[in-house]
Symmetry: D2
Subunit: 298 residues, 4 copies
């Protein structure tokens, strides 16, 4: 449903053009000091793909905490938060009311719920990732206090890895009204050995599930990933930080493949490429998985 985690649990809510987007974090220990500026920085990364203060000003994703904190320190009780939707423009979507956009969740939502919240894509909208980013920003702060760092960056866009060629490709797409996919590379360092469960809750299985909960993700691999399928045993020696489903204390590295943003339906207000904005979501989801595994293992 709308909850992730067993011990450190995050429940999210909110439609893209409803009153607010938010969540409840359950299982967070008491006594952890939260730096709200770091949350704001991550929300700006999600909204604009940058961390510049200019963009932070422009994007007004302000978090209001409803419970669980006293003077920015966690109480051990559920942490509820919300971000009000200030930019609700349902009229932009009025012409979609009776239309199913191709390659879009409109159709499957209609089938599943019998009702379609046509005002902005409802829960399928990328805006719902706001909740994940806030929860992930809190999780990363706690992990940092334990020496664990979760980082994600753009590895390639449209198959290109060279920054100059990427910029040229993006410019070309902008002019052509086109979009392009790419790969985000994630890395987790400082992990304790022993995380993950041997059978169905292997560390990589939980990480994979979390990544595929991000909209537009089509593939996930860790360590040498798909390349290993073409290797011989005598050539392969990269465990990727996980053995038998359990972390061994080394760095865990992984790749996440994003499809291009659909080109139809919402015109030129849209991004050419979601990748720069996606890195903070990958970090957030990975942080939630790591923290839950650490709490289960402690």
């Amino acid at each position: 449903m709308n909850t992730i985690g067993d011990i450190f649990r995050v429940t999210t809510f909110g439609e893209s053009h409803g009153v607010a987007i938010g969540g409840v974090i359950d299982g967070c220990p008491s006594g952890i000091k939260i730096d709200k500026q770091l949350i704001a920085t991550d929300l700006a990364r999600r909204a604009t793909g940058t961390t510049s203060s200019a963009s932070q000003r422009r994007e007004a994703d302000e978090v209001e905490f409803l419970s669980g904190l006293l003077d920015d320190v966690t109480l051990g009780t559920p942490i509820a938060f919300m971000v009000r939707n200030t930019d609700a423009r349902p009229e932009d979507y009025a012409d979609l009311k009776d239309t199913f956009r191709p390659n879009h969740a409109d159709y499957t939502y209609q089938i599943k719920y019998g009702i379609r919240d046509w005002k902005g894509g409802g829960r399928a909208s990328a805006r719902t990732t706001v909740s994940v980013v806030v929860a992930g920003a809190i999780a990363k702060q706690w992990l940092a206090q334990k020496g664990v760092e979760v980082k994600a960056e753009v590895k390639s866009i449209g198959g290109e890895t060279d920054p100059e060629r990427i910029e040229a490709l993006l410019q070309q797409c902008r002019e052509a009204g086109d979009t392009v996919g790419g790969i985000v590379q994630g890395s987790i360092t400082g992990l304790p050995a022993g995380l993950g469960e041997p059978m169905f809750d292997k560390f990589q299985a939980c990480l994979a599930k979390a990544m595929f909960s991000i909209p537009a993700v089509k593939g996930f691999e860790y360590g040498d990933g798909f390349a290993m399928a073409a290797m011989k045993g005598s050539e392969a020696n990269h465990s990727g930080g996980i053995l038998g489903g359990i972390t061994n204390g080394e760095e865990v590295c992984f790749n996440v493949a994003f499809k291009p943003i659909p080109t139809l339906g919402r015109g030129n207000r849209h991004d050419v490429c979601a990748l720069p904005r996606a890195t903070v979501i990958v970090e957030a989801m990975a942080a939630l998985v790591v923290l839950d595994a650490m709490m289960l293992n402690s």
Copy 2:
């Protein structure tokens, strides 16, 4: 832990060189006729990579049902089953008692549990997949009655897709004492629209988690997968049967990357390539995911 599924739940048990491998299936409706021969066929596929009756005779993985069936019809109560380990040869592993095999779960198990069941790899052994194959064979029979088919086959080995070239590569590995990885391609047809949950339990997320619970899996993709990361939006039009995390009624196709079997530690009794044996495990895990999603959605 050792349970998969929310409504159709499978709990597995058994060490590779203990008394028995088995499981408990909870949540299976009553009144379903089970064909035990189909279970035997799948166990033979897991053991030898073939479905020939000769190999079925040689491999004596016989399932004993302890509960949940009356005259081969399900009662609606938990279905417990076990396969006794007749081939327990712990003496083969005596020299490993004080050794950690490289790239093997020995080390991580020692860290996690403080004790290592050195007699055959314990729960990290591929033999534990027996439980999954039995549960999956039951799930597939039920799905078949509802018109859903789950199939998996070898797509490539060592990067080769041509059967003749694959055979040559395997022969070469056999002679060199080497091993080789590959890709299994899965397909689910006849799926109802509406399976999966929009946020953290998207259909592809549950499928990915299940695949990464299979030993030696390093990558998973669905639809056009990683290839989409190099595409433009104007080129991409393959949804892969899932939109917004919810099935749309079309075929769901996916790829699973397996690393080569480690070459060290257990000598020439081992397979050169696990792929032919892996297809039935991929089918079983996929069937468990599909059935659980169908029951949750009904």
Copy 3:
């Protein structure tokens, strides 16, 4: 933790003197019309023990819905709601900052969380039941549409069942600065047969757990309850609507024993007896259990 239910799930948040009390309802189907006046009536029952419009005006527990509704109809997405705490007077509790109140959760919270939210009892406060009452009011509306009614009323106070004697007892307590316990009697009618699971999730087991999650509850019985412990088999014939853990379609009736409100610690602003206010909480918790069981069974 702070979530109840498997399919119809309610997650609650909020400290009694924090920003807001609220919750997230996950798993509510789409298309259900919600009457917000009925929610307001139940909140007034919780706050004052009456349903008079005068008391509704005086008590300003106003619910704000953050998601999940469009024109008062459910969308099938998570329904988040909150009630702001307008009456936060932490200064009233300042003298308790370094005191543990006897027979109060102060001590156990300090042990468990290492930090104590001394401002009004935090999550142990009766005010947190606001979340349950809102969720329960929604559940009851849905149940009513399916012909199921959940009702609770005061059965006895201080051992008295006669209204006149109860009133005399309450008056006597008021004058003496004392408090008194009592029993709430619950009834569920219109239940379908077949709810509940045979082993650990028997219908009565889920109901009992829900009742013991209400603050101050010390006992629960259903059907003839404790009286049956003194009966012979030849005398006992009241199943209480449940056989083998599964409902049989008859009325389920039960009793819930409340201890007296602790007399120390918060002075004369307090109720003499929580029973009149408790009935709506009993109804709410029972409704959540019934609805979850019905969805699991459907």
Copy 4:
């Protein structure tokens, strides 16, 4: 369904007249030495209500462990066990094939599952408590190593507490072909403070749920229980070891009310009173709850 516990999880299986009764314990740490004689003693208590070696010989409930143990020490992997049903006499029930016994689960099972395992009551039979007793015996050994003791004894039968009067009452029932109910009193000592979760998983709520999963239980109370409903606040001062849903380190004491065994349907082979046999089941269920809470809290 058929699983209890979040971290220390027990899944049970088996019909009373099927092949075997058993279970899988998941989440038990490695390195715990198990005394199988203590398990046998508890099984004898369940079968006969005594711990005498004579009755142990007569009752052949022998446990076979299928996994999870090496030389009677836990491996940290799932512990699967079974007790074969040697006394299966389905012919005794042949005349019940088309009959619904009054006040029995026959009817509700038929409604729920559409099929009725008429051979001995299936999963509703008291025999299924074998699984719980084995798991509980293991849990109690572990708790004992941590200084926690769970004890249950008969408090009253047919309303009588004096042993001589109880014996007279039982004799009278035996002669009249009647049965009689009673109360089991439980006690948990050595508990650490801090167990239980404040909202829906209060310690007493989990304990109540576990007790109501025992067949024939009609009521549960802790501390002063129902008596408190007749008390004034100035008289009540017994917390019962739990405050705000969280243990305070004192003894937790509770009462469980059992209805009389139904007099119809299975003739004079049956007990006059289940109470002496029920104490070990109460202990087992309580031990499972305590251990799960301790693991969740550690």
